[in-house]
């Protein structure tokens, strides 16, 4: 069979987001991959320069529908650092609660999508049902299911009343039980194992070289977690473990995410039980002094970086956002070459791509210099060579 170009996206059932892969396949084997993510550029970074801090926060909430709290927290804590403001402990812990619930709903979503990508729709339905519990909790805590509107510069906008704390705590235990069940299911269901194990494998060296972040990196034994390495909003005082796995394939990424789900339950429970009294927000000055801050945040998908420059005004001079999906793309484009057509959806999904965040500003493209440094198999080398010729990278 001659080479066939299979267009995947921008409208395709595998990826409900605007991205276009041109997959060149020889029969069932992927020869190369061309990516185009530029369907969703919204100029948010430019828009942020024209608004004051108060109005930037809702704007950033809309960078991404799933990690909306991540972007606002990264921004708020950056601005607070520039202003020299400290958020009261209660406000910090409420941010942590929302952040970890967000991580849980994002990972549950991912688990379902991964199941869907391999045609395991029952897993998809089940995890999404349990995700509803998380979303209900978020709705009760913040008033919204997505785009929580919880963050403000200087703290959070809503306090949590004791009855609500009790209600949330009550919901956590069944949820934890369900998550353990999924962990069991994924480890033992034969088709899941067949489709996840050994697929999209990255060694530790590759994971480091391609700059992967988050669960993708941690599944390859790269022990980076911003929550522990560069603690923010109270993570320094919260007991939790960084989950890593040595397998480096989609299965490893699944195990890492499930492990993180359990850790998130633990963090949320700890934070709810140890909420200190006091205010949730402090008043902040309108403007920020001249400063530049690199605000790092462990979003569900990995390290999120906001580079913020302030300049004695109430607007940012520059807000440069580097999303985790962007950092992970390089590894996807490289690791897919030579694998099976059927593996595209699950490998792409394994980094949990969030294209809305990413094409806010950017795109892609894969492995440079790697041919000389690493010994890939023939096909992979061929693919990279191709990129060199075709894309010139």
């Amino acid at each position: 069979m001659p080479e066939v170009v299979v267009p995947i996206g921008p409208y395709h059932p595998a990826l409900k987001e605007p991205v276009n892969f041109k997959v060149i396949a020889d029969g069932e084997i992927i020869v190369r991959l061309e990516l185009d993510l530029a369907y969703n550029h919204r100029g948010i970074e430019k828009a942020a320069e024209a608004r004051d801090f108060v109005r930037v926060v809702p704007l950033l909430e809309r960078v991404c529908g799933i990690c909306s709290h991540s972007h606002t927290t990264a921004f708020c804590k950056g601005i607070e650092e520039a202003m020299g403001v400290t958020v009261p402990p209660r406000g910090q812990l409420i941010r942590v609660i929302v952040a970890e619930l967000e991580r849980m709903h994002s990972h549950l979503l991912w688990l379902g999508v991964a199941g869907h990508e391999i045609g395991f729709n029952t897993l998809f339905m089940w995890t999404w049902r349990d995700r509803e519990v998380v979303q209900d909790m978020l709705e009760e805590l913040t008033g919204n299911r997505v785009n929580y509107g919880m963050n403000a510069v200087g703290g959070v906008r809503r306090d949590i009343e004791p009855p609500l704390v009790a209600r949330c705590l009550k919901r956590l235990s069944p949820l934890e039980e369900r998550i353990r069940k999924y962990a069991d299911m994924v480890r033992h269901e034969p088709t899941t194992l067949a489709r996840f194990q050994g697929v999209g494998r990255l060694t530790k060296e590759q994971a480091l070289a391609f700059g992967t972040v988050g669960p993708t990196a941690r599944a390859s034994s790269v022990d980076y977690d911003i929550r522990r390495d560069d603690p923010y909003i109270g993570y320094a005082d919260i007991p939790f473990d960084v989950v890593t796995d040595g397998q480096g394939d989609v299965f490893g990424r699944t195990l890492v995410r499930i492990g993180e789900l359990l850790q998130s339950v633990r963090i949320v429970r700890y934070a709810l039980e140890n909420l200190p009294p006091g205010p949730v927000r402090v008043n902040t000055p309108r403007g920020a002094p001249k400063a530049e801050v690199l605000s790092r945040y462990e979003a569900p998908r990995g390290e999120l970086a906001h580079f913020i420059r302030t300049n004695n005004t109430d607007k940012v001079e520059r807000l440069d956002i580097r999303t985790p999906t962007l950092a992970n793309w390089t590894s996807v484009a490289v690791s897919l070459v030579g694998s099976n057509l059927a593996d595209i959806p699950v490998v792409v999904a394994a980094i949990d791509p969030c294209l809305s965040c990413t094409s806010r500003i950017t795109i892609v493209d894969p492995g440079r210099r790697q041919t000389s440094v690493m010994s890939w198999d023939e096909l992979r080398a061929h693919g990279i060579d191709f990129y060199r010729r075709k894309e010139g990278v």
């Binding site: 001079e317 440069d320 580097r322 950017t362 492995g367």
Partner: protein, 161 residues
């Protein structure tokens, strides 16, 4: 914790000796300011003697006078080492670091698309996120950029027609 203790400012000073001044924003943020032509050397030294193995971001700021590039690197010491350099507005070009830092290739393309900075030696500085019909010589994230009424941006004019 798996790793070494945070970097001290002295370590960075020693590693970056002769390249530029080092300052510290807070505990784990160290910054070295170098001239554009020595950025690659600074990255090599950071990777070598400082053990940096992860590029967080290449931050770019247009401060109205010059373009600032911030290469944020980190490593097992979990300290962010920022290599900062300034490029003149009228001739913004710098050597590409895509061969030293693989992910930087993406970030450089993005910066080129939005700011028009030329990364010399980058094999493929093509349009990346802006639409194909975006005017060639316009870079929307520059401070002095304004839409021109006679041009079309992403299929429409500034008036929306």
């Amino acid at each position: 914790m798996t790793n070494a203790s945070p970097l001290a400012a002295e370590d960075v000073m020693k590693a970056m000796e002769g390249l530029g001044s080092v300052d510290r924003a807070r505990t784990n943020r160290l910054r070295v300011i170098v001239s554009p032509e020595r950025v690659r050397e600074a990255i090599l030294r950071a990777q070598g003697s400082l053990g940096c193995d992860h590029v967080i971001q290449i931050g770019i700021v247009d401060n109205g006078r010059v373009f600032e590039l911030h290469y944020h690197l980190t490593g097992p010491h979990r300290t962010v080492v920022t290599i900062k350099t300034e490029l003149p507005r009228d001739d913004a070009r710098i050597a590409s670091s895509h061969d030293l830092l693989p992910p930087a290739g993406i970030y450089e393309r993005q910066i080129h698309d939005l700011f028009g900075i030329v990364f010399e030696g980058h094999p493929n500085l093509q349009r990346l996120i802006l639409t194909e019909d975006w005017p060639e010589d316009e870079y929307p994230l520059r401070k002095d950029w304004t839409m021109r009424p006679d041009r079309r941006y992403g299929g429409s004019t500034p008036e929306g027609t």
